[in-house]
Amino acid sequence: MSESLEEKVDLKLVGKSILAILILLLSFWLLEEPIGKEIQRNSLLALGLLVLGGIVAGRICQLFGLPSLTGYLGAGMIFGPSAFNIVDSNQVDQLRLVNSLALAMIALQAGCEFTKEMLQKNFKSLIHATWTHVVVVGIGMTVLFVFMKPWIDFLVDMTFFQVAAVGALFAAVAVSKSPATVVAILGETRIKNPLADHSLGIVVILDVVVLVLFAVVLAFAKSSLSPDTPISLSSLGHLFSEIIASIAAGTFFGLFMIFYLRFIDRERMLFVVAISYGLTALCSYLQYDTLLVFVVAGFVVTNFSNQAEKMIYTIESLSSVVMIVFFATAGASLNLLDLTKVWQLVLILTVARTLTTWLAEDVAHRIANSPKMLKKYGVTPFISQAGLSIGLSMIIYERVPEVGPKIATLVISVVTINQIFGPILFKWGLNQSVKLEKSLT
């Protein structure tokens, strides 16, 4: 029933698309230079360029078997402040309005795909992978920071506990994954198998777990870095009440969506946009976890009614534009300049995170005795990082002024690399898993 973003792409179509972009850029130049009519830059121009650039770059990527998402990111990087600066940072900021819509729809779609059967079938692997990701990646990255203390300039003068606290902060962010990337790649490839179910389950569960983990680590880090600040776990209690409230709100709005789709069922697209913006604003005001609220709402729609198909179809019809803008904006936001300054350290951290994530998956699937597919390709969905990780790094930036800016730069640089290579790896993993499935049957 639903349409795919994936289209039949051949060399001729890609060539014509590139020609089209060249005609456009030439027309811009012709109107601006020889005729002398100045074009005032605006957010619409930026949005249009990112969408079209994303479409064409996505097609080029598809031609080489890469995910379209990588093309969207690439278009953002090329047009963005890091490269040609056709879309400047102000315009990127203006487009953030679309991001809240994108995140809401991604979470809602993830929730809609989250069926009871899927949970029952993958229960063991999900539970084991959750704790192994927290323990192995968390401890692994913290230990790495302690060992690397002499080579990281802002850690040199710190005590052992302070270094461990900073390491734990980075580790908490390293545990986070990218639900947006997972949902986008699954939407593009339309693959449904144990690897797809596992990836979706883990990114959603870890989103909640990371929030709790991050709150605990942040409290300890603040206390150890500024001795005047006592350890306060009151924020943890507050966080738990927020999570419970988020689940309650998600359930309520899920039931509301069922009611609307069952009894009114008009202007579905408008309804999804309205509920996405409305609920995001409510979550922001009440400080609920937006992602959790939407996932729970989607879960309720899928598991307590037969309206999920309508909902997924509507979201997919809308999400095509939103996804391009979301990832192209993310690409334009990536700071390639900072990456070049600390590339050695970033490379070590990225490799370490990949290795610990692989180890976490390996341990989990051995214990859970998961299918061969998960044992072999289970790590591939979890390399990507995006909005959640950057959001957490911004909290560190504000709340831990002693080391916040340095850690934020490191996190964003690591996220940049992971976001470039993560989606490619996940698509490859999914394709390999399908081949494996076929060979086994």
Binding site: E7, L31, L44, V51, L52, I55, L270, T280, A281, S320
Partner: protein
Amino acid sequence: MNAILILLGMFSLTLFVSNLGFLTKVHAFSFLSIPIALGIFFAPDGLIPILPSTREDLSWALKVALAWTTFLAGTQLSEKSPHWGHFFKLLPIFLGYLLFYLISLLLISYFGHDLFRLEFIQPGVYTPSALALALLLSAALFSSQENPFLLSMVFVSLFFIFAAPLPVFDIYDLGFPFAIGIIMGTVCRLIISPNAKLDTPARLTLVGLAILGTGWTVGLGSLEVLFGLSFGWALSFIHKYGICKDPNLKSSDIPIRFIVALFAGLYIKMTLTILILGIVLALCRLFIKFLLLNSGLRRAEDIEILTSLLPISKLALPILLSLHLSPFAGDVTRFILGIFCIGYITNDALTLLVELYTGRVLMETENLIHE
């Protein structure tokens, strides 16, 4: 975020009212009166005012909506290409329009300053601005689905309506958006294959091009509706492009026209002058149209009267709103938009009455045919 929430709330209310069983059965009623009225109600100068910033925060989305709605109209342009037969059919309408123009000119130019205290009108002097203002307003208000010629007059009047210190509309303001539309049409023909249906990638490309073209046109300080028309026409010109034939393309038209109408209301500053002029001109319009029908100069079936002749053109409102959002905006454009909107609502109400009076006969006939 607040802006979006408030406007979505208003939009939901519009949808709710529009979907009332009674109204969905009516032919002549355009539904756009409801969002216009709601917009006037919630306008910064309205009864329950919203902040002007709330409205301005979403003006970029409105510009895309305006370009899109005219793009959809543009894809139909090649079907409505004028020919001599069409011209002779429209001749009586032009005679009626001439009468309507004179009435508008008289009202605005003669009574404008004395009775209505219009500061930008010289008392009793037919300045080019006053002539063009009356031309623009009357052409927009008199237009109906069957006479795109009147809409051309709207554009022609733009060259004369603005005088210093306002920015003056020049040939580039007309030429650039058309050129951009043709460039976008060409680009679209390259990116989307001729046989492609309106699937997700094609829809995405169209939306991307519409946004880009709108941004480009706005960046040049011109009217996005001109770009929309040109883009649509460029796609449908010669051999209508595959995606233009897809019936799903039109599905977005109604919600977008609702948004446009809602915003139009939000930009209006209601005064007694606007109210009186709007109602009087709408009454005159209806009177002249029925005069033509009764005199035998123009013959039409009942259904044609209710669906084509009486309702005001769908393009007129986007054009006037686009003008008010452009660098040419000022008191004049707000005045025109205000009168047009009141005229629109009055016309809708009057045609609703006409339909209720004559519609029973029509519906009975339809039922008979069906049976």
